[in-house]
C-alpha cells in the first residue's frame, strides 16, 4: 500500500479547526438559505392562489370554458356538442377534471374557485410526489424539499397552477404514475417478486391523466418505453389491455355524443404549427429552468452510457421532445410543465449523486468511508484498487457503467443493484490480496 492512499480519519473527539468549522457550516448555511428562499416562493404562490380564489371572474381566457364544461356535467349533459346550433358551444378537453369539480359546483354553485382549488391542490400533490421520489433516491430531506419546491417556484407552474385549467391536474396524475412505476420496478428488482396490482395502479393513473388532458400521451409513451427496455414482453402484455380500455372509453364517449367528442376533442385540436412559437417557447423554457434542465439532461446522458436508464430520464427526454407541440396554434408554455416535473426529480437525483460522489457521504446506511476513487478500464471486468487502513475493503467508484459505491454488500441495493456486485471477500490465496474487487455484472455470465 502506498502512503498516498493512506488517510487519517478524524476522531470524533478531535476539536475542529477554524477552517474545518467553516467547511462544515458554510454548506449548511447555504442550504438553509436556499430552503428559506424556496419556502418564500411557496408563500408567494399560496398568497397568489388565495387571492385568485377570491376573484369572481375568469382570469384566463380558458377558465370560462372549463367552468362551462363543469356546469354542463353537473347538469348531466355532455359538453361535446354541435357548434352549429344554440348555444354554439363545445369543449375541446377530456372530461375527468370537470367531472371531479362537479360535486363542488353542486355544493357551492358555479364558482371559479372550485376548479382553481382543485388545480392548486394538484400542484401541491405533484410537488410532494417529486419530493418523495428524490427522497427515495437520495435520502437528503433538504434536497427533496428543494426539488419539490422548485416545481412550485417555476414561472409556468405559478402561472397556470391556480387557474381553473385542467393542465396541472394532468401533470399531477402523470407524476404520480411515473413515481409509482419507479417504486414498483425498484421493489420488484430488489426482491424478484412481481407486483401487478401496483402496475395496474400505474395504468389507471395514466388513463386518468389521458382523460384529463390529451397531452398525457407523452407520459404514456415514456412509461411504455421504460417497460419495454426493462422487459419487452411485459410491456406488450400491458400495452394491449391499456390500449383496449383507452379505446373503448373513447368509442363510448364518441357514441354517446354522436361523434362530437372525436370532432371537438381530437380534430379541432389539430391546429397549424407555428415554428417561431415553438422556438420562442423552447428558448423561454430553457432560460427560465436552465439549472434544472442542464442537470437533468446531464444525468440522463450519464444514465444512457454508464448505468441503466431510469423512468425519470426517459420521461424527461420524451417530455422535452414533446415540448415542440407548444408551437401548435393555441398551445402555450404550460406544455412544458411535464418536462419541468421530470427535470425536478432528475436534477434532484443528479445533485444527490453528485454530493455523494464529491463528499463520500455516508448515505442512508450511515457507513462512512474515505479516500480517492479509482476508475476502471472500460474493458476490465474487475476493478481493483487499494484498500484503506481500518476500513472495509470495498470502496469503489468504478466503470464501466458501474456505479460501485459503498462499503460492502450493505450498500449494494441502495446504489446500483442491477449493474454491480461488490465482493467484500479477501482471502490469503487471492492474488489481489490487499485490494478490493468490484465485479461488473452487466450480463448474466459475468
Amino acid at each position: 500500500m502506498t502512503s498516498s492512499n493512506t488517510q487519517t480519519i478524524p476522531s470524533p473527539t478531535t476539536p475542529l479547526t477554524t477552517s474545518q468549522k467553516v467547511v462544515t457550516w458554510v454548506p449548511k448555511v447555504l442550504v438553509g438559505l436556499a430552503v428559506l428562499i424556496f419556502v418564500g416562493y411557496l408563500l408567494v404562490y399560496v398568497y397568489y392562489a388565495v387571492q385568485l380564489f377570491r376573484f369572481p371572474f375568469d382570469y384566463d381566457q380558458g377558465e370560462g370554458f372549463e367552468l362551462m364544461d363543469t356546469i354542463l356535467f353537473s347538469q348531466g349533459e355532455w359538453p361535446y356538442r354541435g357548434n352549429d346550433s344554440y348555444p354554439f358551444y363545445s369543449s375541446n378537453y377530456p372530461p375527468l377534471f370537470h367531472v371531479l369539480a362537479v360535486p363542488l359546483v353542486w355544493i357551492f354553485g358555479p364558482q371559479y374557485w372550485t376548479g382553481r382549488l382543485l388545480s392548486f391542490v394538484g400542484t401541491l400533490i405533484t410537488a410532494g410526489a417529486i419530493g418523495y421520489a428524490v427522497q427515495r433516491g437520495g435520502r437528503r430531506w433538504w434536497l427533496s424539499v428543494l426539488s419539490g419546491l422548485a416545481f412550485l417556484a417555476s414561472n409556468y407552474v405559478y402561472h397556470v397552477g391556480a387557474l381553473f385549467r385542467q393542465h396541472m391536474f394532468m401533470v399531477m396524475l402523470e407524476t404520480l404514475a411515473v413515481v409509482l412505476l419507479a417504486v414498483t420496478i425498484d421493489q420488484e428488482e430488489k426482491d424478484g417478486r412481481k407486483r401487478p396490482w401496483q402496475l395496474l395502479g400505474v395504468m389507471v393513473l395514466l388513463l386518468a391523466a389521458g382523460y384529463t388532458k390529451q397531452l398525457a400521451y407523452t407520459t404514456v409513451i415514456a412509461v411504455f418505453i421504460f417497460l419495454f427496455l426493462r422487459e419487452p414482453l411485459r410491456a406488450i402484455k400491458w400495452a394491449i389491455p391499456f390500449g383496449l380500455v383507452t379505446g373503448l372509453i373513447f368509442l363510448g364517449i364518441n357514441q354517446a355524443t354522436d361523434g362530437q367528442w372525436m370532432l371537438n376533442a381530437i380534430t379541432a385540436n389539430l391546429n397549424p404549427f407555428v415554428p417561431g412559437q415553438a422556438e420562442g417557447l423552447y428558448r423561454q423554457w430553457f432560460s427560465l429552468h436552465i439549472v434544472l434542465t442542464l442537470a437533468a439532461a446531464a444525468y440522463a446522458l450519464y444514465q444512457l452510457y454508464f448505468e441503466r436508464l431510469s423512468v425519470y430520464a426517459i420521461w424527461f427526454v420524451v417530455a422535452v421532445i414533446n415540448g415542440v407541440t407548444a408551437g401548435k396554434w393555441g398551445a402555450g408554455e404550460s406544455y412544458f410543465a411535464t418536462a419541468i416535473a421530470a427535470s425536478c426529480i432528475l436534477s434532484g437525483l443528479a445533485f444527490s449523486r453528485l454530493i455523494t460522489w464529491a463528499a463520500n457521504d455516508p448515505g442512508p446506511t450511515g457507513t462512512r468511508h474515505f479516500g480517492p476513487q479509482w476508475p476502471c478500464h472500460p474493458s476490465s471486468r474487475f476493478c481493483t484498487f487499494p484498500g484503506l487502513p481500518g476500513l472495509p475493503p470495498t470502496h469503489a467508484y468504478a466503470n464501466p457503467g458501474a456505479y460501485c459505491h459503498g462499503s460492502g454488500l450493505s450498500r449494494w441495493n441502495h446504489d446500483r443493484p442491477a449493474d454491480l456486485m461488490l465482493s467484500p471477500a479477501r482471502s490469503g490465496s487471492d492474488p489481489l490480496r490487499g485490494f478490493s474487487r468490484c465485479i461488473v455484472a452487466g450480463t448474466a455470465a459475468e
Partner: protein
C-alpha cells in the same frame, strides 16, 4: 412465435436509435415524393430533421460498443 429478449441491452438500444434515425431521414425525403412541402430541394424543416436524425444515429453508434449491458 414472437421471440423477445428478456431485456433491451445498450447495443440493442443503439440499433433502435440507428433505425429511428434512418427512418427519419428516409421519411423526410418520402414526403417529397408524395408532394408535401413547399420548397425546392431540401427545405428548412427537412434540414432540421436531418440534423436531429444524424444526432440520433450518432448516439446509436456510440451505444453499440457498450454491448450486452442492460439499457
Amino acid at each position: 412465435m414472437l421471440s423477445l429478449p428478456p431485456m433491451i441491452t445498450k447495443r440493442q438500444l443503439g440499433l433502435i436509435f440507428i433505425g429511428l434515425g434512418v427512418a427519419a431521414v428516409a421519411g423526410s425525403f418520402i414526403v417529397d415524393l408524395v408532394g408535401a412541402g413547399q420548397f425546392q430541394g431540401i427545405g428548412p424543416a427537412q434540414q432540421r430533421i436531418l440534423l436531429v436524425a444524424g444526432l440520433v444515429i450518432l448516439v446509436g453508434l456510440t451505444l453499440l460498443p457498450l454491448g450486452n449491458r442492460p439499457a
